[in-house]
Amino acid sequence: MNRWQKIAWFNLIVIVAGSVISMVAVGTLPPDERLVPPNRVTVVIVISLVLVGMAKTIFRKSDKGVDFDERDRQIHRRASLFGWTGLGLGMAATAMICYLAVGPRGSFPPLALPVIPLVGVAICIILESIAALIQYGRAGDKS
């Protein structure tokens, strides 16, 4: 497993775990405190995003040899496009879910709005990591 596969696995695990913990945390909070930051959900989200941001620092480049060649570039470009397309579709789906939840004349608190980009980011990172891992293959290479 090369460095980029490790980063993809790390991001995937962090975001999936962060999403699950956030949902559990939302369930444990009283309804009127769910959308009032800062609360325990905010802390989980911030920690997850910081960890994803630090992935390249955690998995440092080895001193020997090249760890990012033309093939890796191709894989990353395709994975990024896949992830960002998923983000667009995911956010559109979130808007439709909001519409179905509140109805055509419904309304909701503005503090619920930041949830939409956050869901989008989670979908983007998950899909990007999965796309990278699939392209590298199950066994991967030793570079």
Binding site: L81, A92, P110, L113, I116, P117
Partner: protein, 144 residues
Amino acid sequence: MNRLQKIALFNLGVAMTGLGLQLIQFLISDLLVTRLIASSVTFILCSFLVASYIFRAKVAKRGGLHYDERDSYIHKRAALAGFITFFLVLFLEVMISLSIFGFGSSITIGWVFTIFILAALSIFFVESVTILIQYGREGKGEKS
């Protein structure tokens, strides 16, 4: 100018018109008639954009002279730029909405759709601009 550049130019024009209409709708949000007209025209423009996207996909699928490796590379990069812009625009709109409405109030579902349409139009706008920039101002001798 090749066929793909012409499509990008067309998309740019349509997206700019849509963005302008949405801006008018945003500024004159009290008049129901204005909102209705702006929404209807934006919907028609979005249909044009979708049709143009399908046409481009057909050109890409056919390949050959009209769509080679370089075109594919240019379009992938442009699509990525478009989606990143979509996210940034959406994030910005969410922050602006929060500052306008405040924490205690409520927003209608129509407002959420306006936010999404603006962000979606920005995809086509930035994608088209990126394509045109990458092909270059004068073109490199491509023929449609």
